[in-house]
Symmetry: C2
Subunit: 703 residues, 2 copies
């Protein structure tokens, strides 16, 4: 057995495959799969069906147990009512890999859902690698395995592709065969009752024959696990994905399509980025990126040389470079000298190099050779409009030869219709994509550059600070004892326990305690009513600012009276007596967290007030975050210059904000019971930060 | 002669065409053009060349004057040195339309530039419609006119296409012929010595055979004129354009390609939008939009129905709708009832309609028919993955028939390769574009909707306020007399003359005048040094705020001393004594103008401080602006909610801001001498605005 695809080699490189439910009925899935296997599979196909002695000329067995010898893979196409039993039989017969094509499980309602749970249990019991149910099947080109009922087989290649939509696979194969795009493995994930995207990311990450992993996903089963696996895999193998259901309407469509509740788009955006996935929005980019990543080397630098015989398309390409993370290469003096010798006077030797309309193949060759030899050039786009003096096939050969010679990535834009067809084949042989639209060429090179950065990322472990976890637990447990699941300023101790600076203060249960607390603070204080039943304290006059020591007693009583007037049966814990924080001495920021169903704790950072609420200028990351990630959050907001001291402000202590985010990350990771938490404001002054207020929601069952 | 293309009918629909410089030399442009004309042109081709008696079997004449009978069009391909003379002879011989193919003019340096000026003069003298020089030529399919030296003729169609890059035309035609995309007229603009984009926009706007105008431009010659023409034309005919040189690098590439200085991207963005042009960034959208605009009707509403046999692609389409200005249609109860009768139980009858994988052609037809009949549906996307039960040709016929029956626009996504080819032809016959990528289908429908809005726009004339233009002129003239071209607070009178509210105040020439001015104001005042040599008054302590009446005298002397210390030879005009404006009583905004080389006065609006400087949250429009446009500026900034009273602020008097913008628009339109002007801040309170400071640059030669 081939060890290539890690733990899933039996799935993609089996020697003997059973088709449970193989039939000869015209138009049946059982026949289509048996036929597809028979046509191209290098191993042995074994039909299983108690009603046949042979199927399409192959010996047929009544059940897997009766099949002599070892079976590596079983494809299950029997009706849903007996599919679970068929899978159990696979387990008993030690068939470790099973693809359940049969539909009628979780996607169809409560009966199907309970059937799917049963299926998962059986698979777990026998430790099966189970794909599906409701899957189109799997393919693997090295062994000619086509265990799908689709009409098309895949061309061989080095792209491995998973899809949560079977129809999308059918469509893509039909198109890819036409475009000459090949695949290593293809899997239709179906309902993901057992194997999910993370399993395939891991398997393909270990597969030397997979150069690029592609995915069409409508959801990720376990975000944290996915991030961890993808981070490891993307050191060597790029992952490009469409995650659909991005928009509100799309998420609704996903839920009616697959019956799963989509997590928040914000979480996917952050999570997939943190995982190192190149996320794309459309099918075109999915395959544009796949092709260039599988065919071209990574650029050493982001400086693009453009070589063209047509000024206009050269300008369009330059604009596309301006839109991307790439930049236009500045040629060395040596390059400029060589170009000015090689090119006619009317040519433009500065980047973009315009060899002008009468450029023959030799001039094109010289220009590209000189450009690629320049140490300031990381990659190149070659453009040609159709002219009387250029044969596209010749030019394609020149491009592939020079690309191979210099080892720098090249994208090609031979602009035309029919006349580019054979040239495209030459380019494809050399792993070079060709586009009519220069913008696509540049975006593809940009993807190479982005992947280079991903592959070089060092994922530091999140820092673990020395915190008082027990004290935090006690605070949460006290809330549980009170039956409160919404906490406010009385939970400031949580932040303090985790080392996030808070103003001095305490919750006083009576006026005397309040006076004592104010005496400790030795200054005017802020007083806030503390009640889980009163969320908007300011609205009912439940906050008093700048209370002098002599007024503290009366203020306590007044706050309690107001609260009682507002809500006679409110549960009043007391009054928070807090040191005054000068809001004007710093910048108000917000740090917070909410918990996503797929990705878990999602941290948020932004500047307070209008910046979050009106300009929606926030950064989010899935926790736990490393120092680098927390720093990216702080530096990533549009209004970050304000923290750096723009317009004559004092620069805020950004390191202290970063540390607070890391400590918050640790808190919410340690306590899954915290469902939501907002520190608003976290005032960031020139020397440190202070958390002035906090609100959180707790799931006391999780404690 | 055909009257279709307005004043340019002789250019696109000539009866007799002379080729000046026709030859038989293999590989020559003169031969290629003569051959192209001979092959397909329905009219007569007349070679002109003193060295031949006949060219390619056609009688050849020594010069245009010797040609018997009327000539409508001359194509000039003689060398640059004699090209101007050849054009003059055309003028003498009353050949009104001339295309100069010859290169070696403005694009090549100073000698060429002076030759181009000469060419323009000759053309003006004889009132010639002159295309080029440095043009690839012109095409018009109704008469088979191909007066270019390109290798391809165009297919007939209703798209008229102008391009500032000849190579781009060659590339596009090769590709378009393959895709079955046809054209009415094609023109290579060349150096635009006489006819430019505005002329073709006007001509095609009057041409009933042109359904869509396409352009690839690197610059617009006269922005104001272009806006005016395009506005008129886009009432009936959509204009779709790539304007390249968008990015800094791209603009530089344009300038080395065509030798023209590009205007600012901001001006193009504003100007093309105000003109009603659908601007696109890449070639693909240029033709995607052209095809759907020429083939499909405009939708009555933006509500999209999606009909599919594949859930995944349906979700991708829904996401694309979410990204666009369109929205997912909500079906009526009647529709839902019909669908639930027609569809199997497993189907999804809510939008997107998923007829599921086993949908045959009848089910597809019913679903689409029901959806298009729904009054809540404005347009539709039909998607199909390849399945065993669907023949794409049949489905294409169903789609075209139902589109025609219901008269609502439809985009098609038959997903596949080779197997979609013949279906695409069926769809093309029905004017329906097909895409592999659902996102392109949705963006194309979105373009239809955007054009519907453009076609319905009412362009109000800019309001003309009753202003004191003479007083404004005097202020500018006094600056001229002083030799100042940078004015500051001493020019507040300009704003006052145009009805933009300013605080009470005056420039005092001595301490006594200052004291008198302060007495008039009857309160504390602001005092600012007034000197064209001191731009940053605050930096040198040249501003005093809250000066009580008794301190005004001393303050005057102190300000002048500071200015003298800072710059002993500074020209000091005096001290501005101004009423105090309470900046906290309103929101600081900025209104301003700078003058673009192509589009003229470009107005800017934004909130003051960080909003403009750090968040770059501004809106710009080419002046003069109507009330609607000024309102769009104020409402269009991201931070607009702050003006509407977000977060407990007093709402600002937005009508007063809008009026100030209109008045500023009138001021800068009336006085081209004002090169730049900034009112910063314009404080917008709940009841009106006040311009607190102003700076402007004046070109005194323009007065």
């Amino acid at each position: 057995m081939d060890e290539n695809t890690g733990g899933l080699s039996g799935l993609f490189a089996p020697e003997r495959v059973a088709v449970i439910g193989a039939t000869e009925s015209e138009g049946s899935i059982g026949r289509a799969i048996t036929r597809n296997l028979q046509d191209d599979f290098a191993g042995e196909t074994v039909p299983v069906n108690p009603n046949y002695d042979d199927v399409l000329g192959l010996d047929c067995y009544p059940d897997v147990d009766s099949v002599p010898g070892e079976l590596n893979l079983a494809i299950v196409v029997v009706p849903p009512k007996i599919a679970v039993e068929a899978v159990r039989q696979c387990g008993e017969a030690a068939v470790r890999n099973v693809v359940v094509i049969t539909a009628g499980f979780g996607e169809t309602g409560s009966e199907g859902a309970s059937r799917e749970r049963e299926l998962t249990e059986v698979a777990r019991q026998y430790d099966l690698n189970l794909v599906g149910p409701n899957s189109l099947g799997v393919m693997s080109t090295p062994s000619g395995l086509n265990a799908t009922f689709g009409p098309e087989n895949a061309l061989p290649g080095s792209i491995s592709f998973m899809s949560q939509s079977g129809a999308f696979i059918t469509a893509v194969l039909d198109w890819a065969n036409d475009e000459g795009i090949g695949f290593k493995d293809v899997v239709s994930l179906g309902n993901k009752a057992v194997l999910d995207e993370t399993d395939f990311v891991e398997a393909w990450g270990e597969d030397p024959d997979t150069d690029v992993i592609l995915g069409y996903l409508e959801g990720v089963e376990d975000g944290g696990e996915f991030i961890e696996s993808a981070r490891r895999v993307t050191d060597d193998t790029p992952i490009v994905m469409v995650k659909s259901g991005r928009t509100e309407a799309g998420a609704q469509a996903v839920s009616s399509h697959t019956g799963t509740l989509a997590g928040s788009e914000q979480a996917y955006e952050a999570g997939l980025e943190q995982a190192g996935v190149l996320r794309v929005d459309n099918v075109q980019e999915l395959f544009d990126f796949a092709q260039i990543l599988s065919g071209q080397p990574l650029p050493d630098s982001d400086d693009v040389a453009i070589v063209t015989n047509a000024g206009g398309p050269g300008v369009m390409t330059t604009d596309a470079v301006g839109d991307s993370n790439l930049s236009l290469a500045s040629f060395t003096d040596e390059t400029l000298e060589s170009l000015s010798e090689a090119m006619p006077e009317e040519a433009n030797i500065y980047n973009p190099i315009d060899a002008i309309g009468d450029a023959d193949i030799e001039r094109f060759e010289e220009a590209l050779d000189i450009a690629l030899a320049d140490e300031n050039v990381g990659c190149a786009v070659v453009l040609s409009a159709p002219t009387a003096v250029i044969d596209f096939d010749d030019l394609a050969r020149v491009i592939t030869d020079l690309q191979a010679e210099h080892g720098k990535p090249v994208a090609s834009v031979l602009m035309g219709g029919e006349r580019t067809e054979s040239a495209k084949e030459v380019l494809r042989e050399g792993g070079i994509p060709n586009y009519f639209d220069p913008a696509r060429a540049v975006r593809s090179l940009d993807a190479l550059s982005r992947y280079r950065e991903i592959s070089r990322r060092e994922y530091e472990d999140p820092e673990r600070f020395d915190v008082d976890r027990e004290r935090a637990r006690e605070i949460l447990e006290r809330a549980e004892e009170r039956g409160d699941n919404r906490l406010g300023v009385e939970a400031m101790g949580l932040l303090d326990a985790y080392g996030i600076p808070t103003p001095e203060g305490t919750v006083a249960a009576d006026p005397e305690e309040a006076v004592a607390a104010a005496q400790d603070i030795e200054d005017e204080v802020v007083m806030k009513i503390v009640s889980p039943d009163i969320l908007h304290k300011s609205d009912i006059g439940g906050v008093k600012v700048g209370v002098p020591p002599e007024d503290v007693y009366d203020a306590f009583e007044d706050l309690v009276t107001r609260a009682r007037n507002y809500q006679p049966d409110a549960d009043i814990l007391g009054v928070q007596v807090q040191e005054m924080v000068d809001l004007d001495a710093g910048t108000e920021t917000i740090i917070g967290m909410n918990r996503d169903p797929q990705f878990g704790p999602l941290l948020l950072f932004g500047l307070g007030g209008i910046f979050v609420e009106i300009l929606e200028d926030t950064e989010t990351r899935v926790a736990p975050v490393s120092e680098r990630e927390a720093t990216e959050m702080v530096e990533g907001i549009r209004s970050a210059p304000l923290l750096r001291g723009a317009r004559g402000r004092d620069p805020a202590d950004r390191e202290a904000i970063v540390e607070s985010l890391q400590r918050l990350s640790q808190l919410v990771t340690d306590f899954p019971a915290i469902l939501e938490l907002d520190v608003n404001p976290l005032v960031a002054g020139p020397d440190g930060v202070q958390a002035v207020d906090v609100r959180l929601t707790v799931d006391t069952d999780e404690l």
